[in-house]
């Protein structure tokens, strides 16, 4: 299928952002926040702060009752969003607001909310809202036939995950259906901040590129990245750095929204510093912790 090679379609905002970062000689910064956390209006302001701080791309999380792949921080954030009454329409509203910031907007969703919404309808509505595509952490290529068709029809990117345990055969299978980028899970585990980036990450990125070749989609790394130094390390070998729990934690720990916004903006700046590769990094700058 090699969907990433269908160059006749107009590039999504995501493709443009990733290409821009690459030509700047840096890794793209991709931030995650559940829509509606802690409420819809606040989540939009938080995403604006993430973008002001340097996020190129924002994954708008579709809050779900049973987030099997998430650790305690994102579980709590998603629970708050659901308790605040966040609906699929709210998710699309947050996507629109995200796209208006100039960042590329993605949706990150477990499969059932999209399945329930209607796969075709979701693809159409997401494209209308200005979204670039969807990351689907519990949808495997084998089950994705309907989604591949719907995302093709709507011109959306589709991002699947690869993991350190993926065989070469599965790396090929998965990267063949990916469009936009390939999400490399840095380690075997759930989302959440960790003291160091797992050494499995670099090897996985290399294995993925070996399979896709030079014309393959960008490879971005997520899971466990929690500060500027770690972002810099990952930026040394990946096309993008994905951070989620660190943003959620700053909101959960802030005494009020304004303090949370300041903390999120500062955190994004620190990560953006890390994403600038050593070759292009301003030697006078340092992580603003």
């Amino acid at each position: 299928m090699s969907a990433q090679h269908t160059a006749q379609e107009p590039p999504t905002a995501l493709a443009t952002k990733l290409a821009g970062a690459r030509s700047d000689g840096r890794a793209a910064l991709i931030g995650y926040l559940p829509a509606g956390f802690p409420d819809v209006a606040s989540s939009i302001r938080i995403i604006q702060a993430m973008v002001e701080g340097g996020c190129d791309v924002v994954e708008v999380g579709f809050p779900y009752s049973d987030p099997t792949m998430d650790g305690p921080t994102i579980q709590l954030a998603a629970d708050r969003a659901l308790a605040a009454g966040t609906t699929p329409a709210d998710v699309l509203r947050v996507v629109s607001a995200t796209a208006e910031t100039g960042a590329a907007a993605l949706v990150m969703s477990y499969w059932n909310p999209i399945d329930r919404y209607g796969v075709d309808r979701f693809a159409t509505d997401l494209a209308s809202a200005g979204g670039s595509g969807v990351i689907t952490p519990d949808l495997l290529p084998e089950e994705a036939g309907e989604w591949v068709e719907a995302s093709d029809a709507a011109g959306l990117d589709r991002i699947f995950l690869v993991a350190p345990s993926s065989t070469d055969r599965r790396l090929r299978l998965t990267t063949d259906v990916c469009r936009g980028f390939v999400y490399a899970a840095s380690l075997m585990g759930v989302t959440g901040t960790r003291d160091q980036v797992a050494d499995t990450a670099e090897r996985l990125v290399r294995r993925t590129r070996d399979v896709t070749g030079e014309s393959g989609p960008p490879v971005c790394v997520g899971l466990g990245i929690s500060n500027g130094e770690q972002a810099a390390e990952v930026a040394g070998y990946a096309d993008g750095v994905i951070v989620g729990a660190g943003f959620c934690r700053r909101i959960l720990e802030a005494p009020d929204l304004d303090a949370g916004l300041a903390a999120v903006r500062g955190f994004a700046e620190e990560l953006a510093w890390g994403c600038a590769r050593p070759a292009t990094r301003d030697p006078g700058a340092g992580p603003r912790v």
Binding site: T68, D138, G189
Partner: protein, 409 residues
Amino acid sequence: MSTAPQPSAPADPGGHFGRYGGRFSPEALVAALDGVAEAWDKAKNDPEFQGELRQLLRDYTGRPSPLGEAPRFSAECGGARVLLKREDLNHTGSHKINNVLGQALLTRRMGKTRVIAETGAGQHGVATATACALLGLDCVIYMGEEDTRRQALNVARMRMLGAEVVPVTIGSRTLKDAINEAFRDWVANVDHTHYLLGTVAGPHPFPTMVRDLHHVIGEEARSQVLELTGRLPDAVAACVGGGSNAIGIFAAFIDDPQVGLYGFEAGGDGLDTGRHAASITGGAPGVFQGARTYVLQDSHGQTVPSHSISAGLDYPAVGPEHAALADSGRAHYVPIPDDEAMEAFRLLSRKEGIIPAIESAHALAGARRLGADLGPDAVIVVNLSGRGDKDIETAATYFGFVDEQGEQR
């Protein structure tokens, strides 16, 4: 009975039962799931493995379990001849041990040293802790905090057997959250850990492997009923939460179109109240915990909490093979409200001297409905999936056998 006979359709290689089943899981678990599927495919055709399993089922579990007459209970079922498949007499007190012993042997065969499992009422957790003690495997049981309080005695049993019991304090703090947490553990520890899933749900290969391991229930029951009555039964009744005991007994009768298959779901306070666990009757198709199946969900695809007086049926989804059997019409699924199940619980205790699990009482209540429909010439096999010792506190409260000071009446 409007049964449209369907041949028994084993799942396709991807674990699909028609449009249901499959694998909706993180990529990180695919290698492990493939490993389990491959190991099981080899083990089930390996005479040495099968011999070891058969010996354990005989000498340790006490199989075959009897199929017994229940004349005084039958009189409460429109006079139909009700036969009880006595899975309650198995070691650890329920059918759960059949699956657990098989997967525990498989764990050892795969060279893994640690087992994790979820439990709701504690039956699967106790069975798993038991098998791990027997085979010398490390054992961690995830249990919703709410359930650890409701089933304190089973928590003590599991700890006595050497298992670590981890209360799950997120989400609704019940069975589904324990399963979520077990999956999170598995993805981080998959190199040395097997997730010993306790029902016919989850991603491929669990629904087929767990069915295969419970198939012994139906195989025995089919030959026992032929021996006892000289014919096949008119109906087979089982309770359905995730659906493991039901699939186990149904599987042997699927190719017998004259045998009606009936799964009785937990109707809770009644379907119209929204407080129930009847995933097929009251849910809608969706994707949940690794498979496409019927799920209790709202219009946004969020899981709706289930409710049942029976902790073992208190689960908002059902195994995908049941979803396919329901759609094809080969099996029928009917909700039984809490009160009707508890009346059957009381009747079996008083008429036969057998205290059933409240889960199994749903099947007994269903047999009373079937008996009234089918009449006195009918033969009905009920899968008595577990014993009710664990439910005495719930039953005592329900029937008012304990006064407010906690003294026995």
